[in-house]
Symmetry: C2
Subunit: 495 residues, 2 copies
């Protein structure tokens, strides 16, 4: 598959087009024959697997176990929790039949009308209902609590406008579902998990995030409180990257899940749920990449070091490749993933462009002069800098460089993000920032859903979150209504 | 959740009931609110995760990459490959609508008739069609081959009679789909992967398998050749545990996937597919377990060593627990997973029964006398033997014991399986073995589908495989028709 880097749209020309092209050209994903459903290609899936492994380790380190619940949910389950049905049961894939038959008119296969389900099944858009229906049988006494389960699964939401990774009809995710004896414990769990997401986003993806509460308008359907991590993309738009919900007793009440306390009383169980999805792939791509392609943080890069021989003729290729394989073996011993690219049907310049496009953090090139001098050319993807370095000490240098690149990518994103949180104290400022600068606007809000909706209608900006760490309490006046406000919140246009 | 071991049906009384109860009581899986769909509980899922990790490492070691393809397949795709549609498109979940709406009669939510899909979508029962439709765009020249992809996914087949793990409407599996330039290369791949499955079954699960070809009747719908691993359960019934298919050019032709050879000619691409599923959980349970519960091979046991304190009073509990935690720390350093069970609300006898039920390979119990004498009680799950051993050298002993138990479990199953392959040379012998001994019957067959079907109708036994390793060529007469035959094949009743 040829890499057609020259055709990649420039970031500054059309960010949205650049993103769409990059996802495909870098071999991450592509659209499928099924509307809104993507194919995640091997290179993209390798990144997702690294994300999964890191997150799964973090979930287990915080006491969670994995389990698996059914893909299908009986339609009636959605009606049990009033606000949940409004949020989820509408745009979904509905299974109505369980058999096909040969068409009597010779039109291939058709749905067998006699195989109609008594109750339709919904392909899960999220699993609170089926899981709480299951937990009912798992929970009797306080000794059965807490239940700390996570599920890695596919889910389907029938989105009308889809974009690879950012919004697809089917996507992959994990959904944690926990059950607790007290409200406090459940709220602590919801906070613990949003902090796990923050840790992952910042220290693995190199993407700084703002942690905060969602406003009631933006809460998960069925939650009492939704915590979010909000990332900022290079075009100044926010991307909700993970959420953690305190569900109160809503699902316990809907599915009649009670437990006997130490004192022998019957109480409803308290719940949380939390999830991140393949949308994180979109965040990773949009936060760091450039006109040359992807920029991957070393911790999530399927290939951390690409090695390219510079040679003339078969004999030189053999010599270079052998030397590179020896270096690669040393690097692999230190846990670095290396690809030695000895292809003889493409030029080295093509290979350079390909590894840049694919975001490989470090590229090493070895030519005849290097062999003489005991040197090697080292190129960093994040800074696009090149230098000729001694082969001696190379392995230690590269091990250290992995950390350096990881930190640099994060710091660059953090500096950008921090430069894009702007205070607005008047409506004019607010509009001006949104239209001309972008990013997060820190502004006062009167706390009402009506005002939030009016601001959204006027500007397409929403409250991304009420930040926990960033903003101290402060008296002020709502940017829109002028009514009194006790703290600033973060607005932005978003994906 | 109380362990009600005393209620477990005995293997010898009702094998089928014993299995169903064991799966639930050991906390592996349970039925869900959706007919035929199971909930895989944390303990069961932990075993599945270990299976996945081992298999995934083996796939990668043989050059495969993971990818992800859509859950849904357009109905028309199934009509493209004639025999595939007969095998798969019939009993399946059909998505016909993409929206629900509030009922005007106040009956909760109902299907929105205006949101009918133009073409129905099938929830994948297997993914050859959608994948080959995708490969069409990935393959142009011989340089794009081979493609060696695997997918971990859920699939749905609308089975009428379901049993936990063995046959469920939704199940989890992996499906490898590879594309090759030549028939030979594809056939080698199909063989390589069935040998990977054999390696996994025997060396990880401790389950000996017979490797062989399926007869044409039992082939995968759309395959030119199906290789299988066939395991034997303790009730003498066979269980097909994994298959690897040489698909010829059938899917390449159905989806028009061609490549340009080195010589510049256009050729159709050659294919394989291969899969194992959560059915392996059923094989694992039925191959080794007994009246006390599961028997897990150490390599797949989520808990390898359970430690139980024997104590009177809180002070003793504290002392025993501290000592056990110290031993556990040493074991964990050697990669052994250990659970120290310091619960004070259940008796040690209850804990013993629980770890037996859950198949934990080794149980250690430490009491006051042991503390005085520097000893500890060690119980093996596979042999149900107990001995008091010195604490000195315990860690080395347990590390070695893990291998010993793994080998012993396999050897026991192998001896049983070998004792259950019986030659039959007359129809009377054939019937007698099936009815009174069970297991595999090695017999001559005339090679026709008609005879195979007639034998199946008469006895419920099918040809499990035409073994590759076990049986040499030998002239004989078909057990049923008396016609000449050149080799024996293995018949059995099966799951």
């Amino acid at each position: 598959m040829a890499v057609e880097l020259k055709d990649l749209t420039k970031v500054e020309d059309n960010y949205s087009k650049w993103y769409n092209e990059l996802v495909v050209k870098a071999g991450l994903a592509e659209n499928s024959a099924v509307r809104g459903c993507m194919v995640i290609k091997p290179y993209g899936y390798a990144i997702w697997e690294k994300m999964q492994r890191a997150l799964d380790d973090m979930f287990k380190a915080t006491g969670h176990e994995n389990a698996y619940f059914p893909l299908f949910i009986p339609k009636s389950f959605f009606s049990r929790e009033a606000s949940h049905v409004e949020g989820f049961a509408k745009e979904c894939a509905v299974v109505t039949h369980y058999r096909l038959m040969n068409s009597s008119q010779g039109e291939g296969v058709v749905v067998d009308p006699s195989a109609k389900l008594e109750e339709e099944l919904i392909v899960r858009p999220t699993s609170e209902t089926i899981i709480w229906n299951t937990y009912k049988n798992w929970i009797t006494s306080y000794r059965d609590l807490p239940i700390l389960c996570n599920q890695w699964a596919n889910v389907v939401r029938w989105e009308m406008r889809t974009r690879l990774f950012l919004r697809t009809a089917e996507f992959l995710w994990q959904e944690g579902h926990t059950a607790h004896a007290t409200s406090e414990e459940a709220q602590e769990e919801a906070m613990r998990m949003i902090r796990v997401y923050q840790d992952f986003a910042e220290n693995w993806m190199g993407v700084p995030v703002v942690v905060g509460h969602k406003s009631p308008n933006e809460r998960f359907a069925g939650a009492e409180d939704t915590l979010t991590i909000e990332a900022l993309m290079q075009d100044g738009k926010a991307l909700q990257s993970g959420t953690s919900h305190f569900l109160g007793q809503n699902f316990a009440k809907a599915f009649d899940v009670t437990y006997t306390t130490k004192e022998g009383k019957q109480e409803y169980v308290w719940a949380t749920s939390w999830g991140v999805s393949t949308r994180l792939m979109g965040a990773l791509i949009m936060a760091h990449s450039d006109n040359n392609g992807l920029v991957l943080p070393p911790k999530l890069a399927p290939i951390q070091v690409a090695m390219v021989p510079i040679y003339k003729g078969e004999e030189q290729l053999k010599v270079m490749t052998e030397k590179m394989e020896a270096i690669a073996a040393e690097l692999r011993k230190r846990g670095i993933s290396v690809k030695v690219d000895a292809r003889d049907n493409v030029r080295s310049g093509f290979k350079f462009a390909e590894y840049e496009l694919k975001g490989v953090p470090v590229r090493l090139a070895l030519g005849p002069r290097d062999l003489e001098n005991g040197t090697i050319e080292l190129a960093r993807r994040d800074t696009l800098s090149k230098e000729v370095v001694p082969q001696e000490g190379l392995v230690d240098r590269i091990v250290a460089l992995m950390d350096e690149i990881q930190t640099n990518i994060y710091q660059k994103a953090l500096d950008f993000r921090n430069s894009m949180i702007t205070k607005a104290d008047t409506w004019e400022e607010f509009i001006d920032i949104l239209d001309n600068k972008g990013g997060f606007v820190s502004a006062h809000w009167d706390g009402t859903p009506e005002t939030e909706q009016a601001i959204k209608d006027a500007t397409k900006a929403t409250i991304r979150c009420i930040p926990i760490d960033l903003v101290d309490e402060e008296e002020g006046k709502c940017i829109f209504s002028g009514k009194p406000s006790h703290r600033r919140v973060l607005f932005a246009r978003s994906y």
